[in-house]
Symmetry: C2
Subunit: 185 residues, 2 copies
C-alpha cells in the first residue's frame, strides 16, 4: 500500500513514455534503449525498472500514447478547414512540419506487427485512423470509403518521407480529391 509518494508513480511513467517518444522520433525506435530514454528524461537508468516491469511494458504504453497523439493532432489540424482542399493542405502542413512524428508512426506499426502482444494494438491504431477519416469525410461531406482515404494519405506520406517532395505530395492528394469530387454529394 503506497502511503503518499512524493511524486505520483503515474507521473514518472508518463515522463518516461514521453521521453521514449522523443528519443524514438529523433533517433528511431532501435535507438530507444532504456539508458537513452532515462537519460532523455533526466533520470538514472535504475529508475526505469522501478516504474516499469520491463521495456515491453513501456513500449505498450508508448504505442498507445502514439495513437492518441497522432490522431488528435492530425484531426485538429484537418478539422480547422471546411472544404476538402484546405483539409488536404492542413494535413500536408502537419506532415512537413512534423516529419519525425509520422515516420515514428510507421516504425511503431512495424514494431508492433513483429511483437506478439502488440499486434492487436497496431490494429487498434488503424481503427482510430479509420474512424478519424470517416469523421473528416462526414465534416467535409464527401462519400468515399474511409479505408481508401486512409490508404491514400498513408501512401502519400510514405512517399514524402522518402523524397521530401512537398509539391508532388500535395498534387497527388489533389488529384485524388478531384476524382472523388465527382462522386461527392
Amino acid at each position: 500500500m503506497p502511503t503518499r509518494p512524493r511524486r505520483s508513480s503515474d507521473d514518472r511513467r508518463r515522463e518516461l513514455v514521453e521521453a521514449a517518444l522523443r528519443v524514438m522520433a529523433r533517433d528511431g525506435v532501435g535507438a530507444a534503449t532504456t539508458r537513452a530514454i532515462t537519460t532523455e528524461a533526466g533520470m538514472t537508468q535504475s529508475r526505469f525498472h522501478y516504474c516499469f516491469r520491463s521495456k515491453a511494458e513501456l513500449l505498450h504504453e508508448v504505442v498507445q500514447a502514439m495513437v492518441g497523439n497522432q490522431v488528435t493532432s492530425v484531426l485538429a489540424a484537418v478539422r480547422s478547414g471546411g472544404d476538402v482542399g484546405s483539409a488536404l493542405r492542413a494535413y500536408c502542413q502537419h506532415l512537413v512540419e512534423n516529419p519525425e512524428q509520422h515516420q515514428l508512426s510507421y516504425e511503431l506499426t512495424q514494431y508492433a506487427l513483429r511483437t506478439p502482444g502488440l499486434a492487436e494494438l497496431a490494429a487498434q491504431q488503424y481503427e482510430s485512423y479509420l474512424n478519424g477519416a470517416a469523421e473528416v469525410m462526414a465534416v467535409v461531406g464527401a462519400r468515399v470509403p474511409a479505408r481508401l482515404v486512409v490508404a491514400v494519405i498513408e501512401g502519400v506520406t510514405l512517399q514524402w518521407l522518402v523524397d521530401h517532395d512537398d509539391a508532388a505530395a500535395l498534387a497527388t492528394l489533389y488529384s485524388f480529391a478531384e476524382q472523388f469530387g465527382q462522386r461527392a454529394a
Copy 2:
C-alpha cells in the same frame, strides 16, 4: 590479386545477401545479426567479414536486391492480366501469399531512411515503384498519376498487413479503380 578461387567471392556475397533477406523476412530486420545470417547461410560467422567489410556493406546490397526482387515479381504478377480488375486481383494475391516480402519492404525503407548513406537508395526504390506503376498504367490504358497509384497500393498493403482483411483490401482497390475508371480513355 586472386588467382582462381575455389568458389567465386561474388557467389559467397550473394548467398549472404539471400540468407539475410530470408532472416529479415522471417524475423525482422532487427533480428538479422551477422551470426543469424551466417547460420542461415550455413557458414561460420567469421566468413562474414571475409566477404563484407562491414554489416553496413551487406545491408546496402540487401536493399538493392530487395528493390529488384520486389519490383520484378510484382510486375510479373500484374502484367499477366490485361484489365484493371485482374491486375488488382493479381497484386492482392501476391500480397496475401507473400506477406513477409511486403512487410520487409517497409522495414527496409524505414531502415534506409534512418541510415545516412542509404537514404538515396530508398529514393531509388520508390523511383522503381513509380516506373513500374507507370508501365502498368500504360499497359492497362488508364490515365492516372503513377504517384497516386503507388500511394493507394502501398496504403492498402499497409492496412492489410495490420488487419489481414483480404476482402476489405480488394474492395478498397476496386473502389479506387472504379473512380479512375470514369477518367480512363
